[in-house]
């Protein structure tokens, strides 16, 4: 097992080998082990979602729909959306990196309520299990948005279980977030003031606030959809006296802020990576922190921009469009500040940094096209077209998944105690970047041209761009398989690393890799500001060693 003898001297048990056996994992209350449990679960769900995406892209290779039936196709995009959003994107960074890192970053022994933390995972598993049951019993074909009255009175698939699985998994998010909020408030180490928190903690905190205040609304709307289907009462069905727009209001009150649930933790991770590999403090710490909070707050004031053509009042649309621009300002601040952080830095183009740079580029495109969509007159034309599809994939995949992978590479040495192969990492990052852009950039053009989203077949003149998109998706698929492969490989063969291989700032690097069960041998006392790279060695420990690059 041990390949590097020089580190054998560290005898104290880390969290991975503190105990052995399946039971020690399934009954653990250690936040780091729970993070690993989540990592396994969401990776599994990610590849299920990716499989659906594969079918979608293959189907769209030709205009006339030859691969699958319309019904199958509808199920594919519905379940792709639901799996990716509720079972991968929303939990991904918070439950994996958040769970693992927040206590480490603030110098706590664990999260505030460890048992609740484990319970959240079990609730997640129940929700995921219910959803997999839905998949196996024929799937859903409502679109991930569950718009009524289609979902309540028309489709015949298993909407009830599907909706309730979203309800259940929502509670998992709520409990995790509640845990984070209390942890950040109450368990910070002595000296770890709010002004010294790493931006990832700020971002996770803001994310948790959004989840706590927003998720009840998706829960109640899903519960109402399920009850409406079971009892045939007409809460949303106009034929029975309801109003379908009320559902959209309830749904988007959560589901728009949910976009920030997906992107904010990613932004936090990117701030950690950029500072480390620029060897610099972050540019404008407070504006970065306040921008995070501003996004969380303003994110709640813009939901009806999903409904500009849905029949809301013109005045309401004007207000929501206006406010949508206010959420764009803090996002712009973040992009500019990241760029400025690199100014006069000393840049290392390691794999995490490549992901961070890709994130900035892709998030900028995603954010800019968001400005297009917030502009009312433009939105009317492209809403529900591939322009929107491209836009949110740039944010969610180009932003969130890229940040997640960047974070996984950056923290892999801390999580596993071993280094991933750097050259493979760089190749994978490049493949993902190219594949991603090839997949989704043509979709902007398709959308403006008039290709509808959720179309099983389409007009022949759109084929060339769709073929490009499918080609890109295949490249992207390979790109995502690569890290899975080499991370698994490195668990056994990767070289062991010390406490702080990246010579990074932050408390999480001041404890062994992998950390012991209670994180710190003794409670740390913080006397330094966040990102104090001025006080750290100028170069990065692991890169001093020749072997790293060629690994």
């Amino acid at each position: 097992m041990a390949t590097s003898p020089q580190l054998e001297t560290v005898e104290s048990a880390d969290y991975l080998n503190a105990e052995y056996g399946v039971k020690s994992w399934l009954l653990t209350t250690d936040h780091k082990r729970i993070a690993i449990l989540y990592l396994a679960s969401i990776t599994f769900m990610f590849f299920i979602g990716a499989l659906f995406a594969l079918v979608i892209r293959l189907e769209l290779l030709v205009p006339d729909g030859t691969l699958v039936q319309a019904d199958t196709y509808n199920k594919m995009f519905t379940m792709h959306g639901l799996v990716m959003i509720f079972f991968f994107l929303i939990p991904s960074i918070p439950t994996v990196l958040g769970n693992f890192l927040i206590p480490l970053m603030i110098g706590a022994k664990d999260v505030a309520f460890p048992k609740l933390n484990l319970m959240s995972w079990y609730i997640f598993i129940v929700g995921a299990g219910m959803f997999i049951y839905t998949i196996l019993t024929g799937g859903l074909d409502t679109g991930w948005t569950f718009y009524t009255p289609l979902s309540t009175s028309f489709v015949s698939s298993s909407v009830v279980i599907g909706a309730l699985s979203i309800f259940v998994v929502g509670f998992s998010s709520i409990l995790t977030s509640l845990n984070f909020i209390v942890t950040v408030h109450k368990l910070r180490a002595p000296g770890m003031t709010w002004g010294r928190l790493p931006l990832f903690v700020w971002a996770s905190y803001a994310t948790s606030v959004i989840i706590v205040l927003g998720t009840p609304l998706i829960a109640i709307s899903m519960a109402l959809v399920a009850l409406e289907r079971i009892f045939g009462i007409g809460f949303f069905d106009p034929l029975l006296g309801g109003d379908p727009l009320l559902f959209q209001h309830l749904f988007w009150f959560y589901s728009h802020p949910a976009v920030y649930v997906m992107i904010l933790p990613g932004m936090g991770i990117i701030s950690e990576i950029i500072t480390c590999f620029s060897r610099k403090g972050v540019f404008g710490y407070w504006s970065m922190a306040l921008a995070i909070l501003a996004i969380a707050v303003f994110g709640f004031l813009v939901w009806a921009h999903h409904m500009f053509v849905a029949g809301i009042s013109v005045y309401s649309a004007l207000v929501f469009s206006f406010l949508s621009y206010f959420v764009a300002v803090p996002s712009a601040i973040k992009v500019f500040n990241w760029t400025a952080t690199m100014y006069r830095g000393s840049l290392y183009l390691t794999t995490p940094m490549l992901y961070a740079l890709a994130f900035i580029g892709l998030f900028t495109i995603g954010g800019m096209t968001g400005l297009f969509l917030a502009s009312l007159g433009f939105d009317v034309h492209v809403t529900d077209s591939y322009f929107v599809v491209a836009h949110f994939h740039y944010i969610m995949v180009g932003g969130m998944v890229t940040a997640f992978l960047g974070g996984m590479h950056f923290y892999w040495p801390k999580i596993s105690g071993r280094m991933y192969p750097e050259s493979w990492g760089q190749v994978a990052a490049a493949v993902i970047f190219i594949g991603f852009n090839l997949t989704f950039f043509p979709q902007f053009i398709l959308g403006y041209l008039g290709m509808n989203r959720r179309y099983w077949h389409y007009a022949p003149q759109f084929q060339v761009l769709n073929v490009l998109s499918t080609a890109g998706a295949s490249i992207l698929g390979i790109g995502y398989l690569l890290p899975l492969g080499y991370f698994a490989w490195s668990l056994r063969y990767g070289r062991r690393v010390g406490d702080n291989p990246w010579t990074a700032a932050g408390l999480e690097w001041k404890t062994p890799s992998p950390p012991p069960t209670h994180n710190f041998p003794e409670t740390p006392v913080v006397t330094w500001e966040a990102y104090n790279y001025a006080e750290l060695p100028k170069d990065i420990e692991i890169l001093r060693e020749e072997t790293f690059a060629g690994d």
């Binding site: 403090g281 009317v380 529900d384």
Partner: protein, 328 residues
Amino acid sequence: MFPLWPISASTMARQVDGLYIFLIVVTGTVTLFICAVMLIFIFRYRHSKHPVAEQVTGSLPLELTWIVVPLGVFMIFFIWGANIYVAEATPPKDSLQIYVVAKQWMWKTQHENGEREINTLHVPVDRDVRLTMISQDVIHSFWVPEFRIKADVLPGRYTTLWFRANRTGTFHLFCSEFCGTQHSGMIGKVVVLDGAKYQEWLTNGGEMGSFAATGQKLFQELGCANCHRFDTQGRGPNLVGVYGKPVLLSRGTSVIADDAYIRQHILNPGFQVVAGFKPIMPSFQGIVTEDQMLSLVAYIKSLATPQQREPVSNRPPVPKSAGAPEVQ
């Protein structure tokens, strides 16, 4: 080669294209600028060239600049977009009225002269066209990319869309809101004809009598006319001259008798009873289809401007104190 820019076939399309180009130029410039700056930094400050980072960690003037300037630019986006949106929301007065009923998975369109079409819509070029739309089942969305217009078609509620085609030809009509299995099959075409051809097309098909006449026939068949008589003796209000005017309700409030009110009232008469009448009208829920409903609305609308009939007061004697709202 494949197309990169859609055909522009309505007055609105030009405006949207203008906004789109502006957005692309502005955001494209900024995006390219950010990428260029990143590349320059990567090149100039890479570790091998710039081994010691200088701790530049903030500049308030700079940060204020990139708060205020983007906000200013965003406000241009907002105002421009809002202008187009408001224009899209306010159909010109003397538009050609067409009714659209959407159902899984087809479009039914009806012209005022009685012409009906399925998955097709013939309109004249250079003329304002106003669509009053409703769905019979789930939410659909009426989208003609070449016109750059779209509006959801809701069940239970009328929505409106208008456009002015400025180019003859045949254009795609898509359902844009996911509406079930054959969503992608719910497509049709909009045929824009020049004035003469449109007239020709109209006269070829308009033998079934005008849309309002269909409504009138239905009005008789359903027995509406028994109570809604054209004098003050009926058990229901006289409907002449009602459309578009305020109606006093038994609750003391008043509503405008528009399409939505008429539809609501036929389906659910007890909801808003007109002052001075008993809630005796039966519901026509499940009896009148959305198409028929639209013809009834068209008929009542045609009564708004009585040509030869004597205008009679539509309101029965109500207590003076109730203060019937005056027409403004």
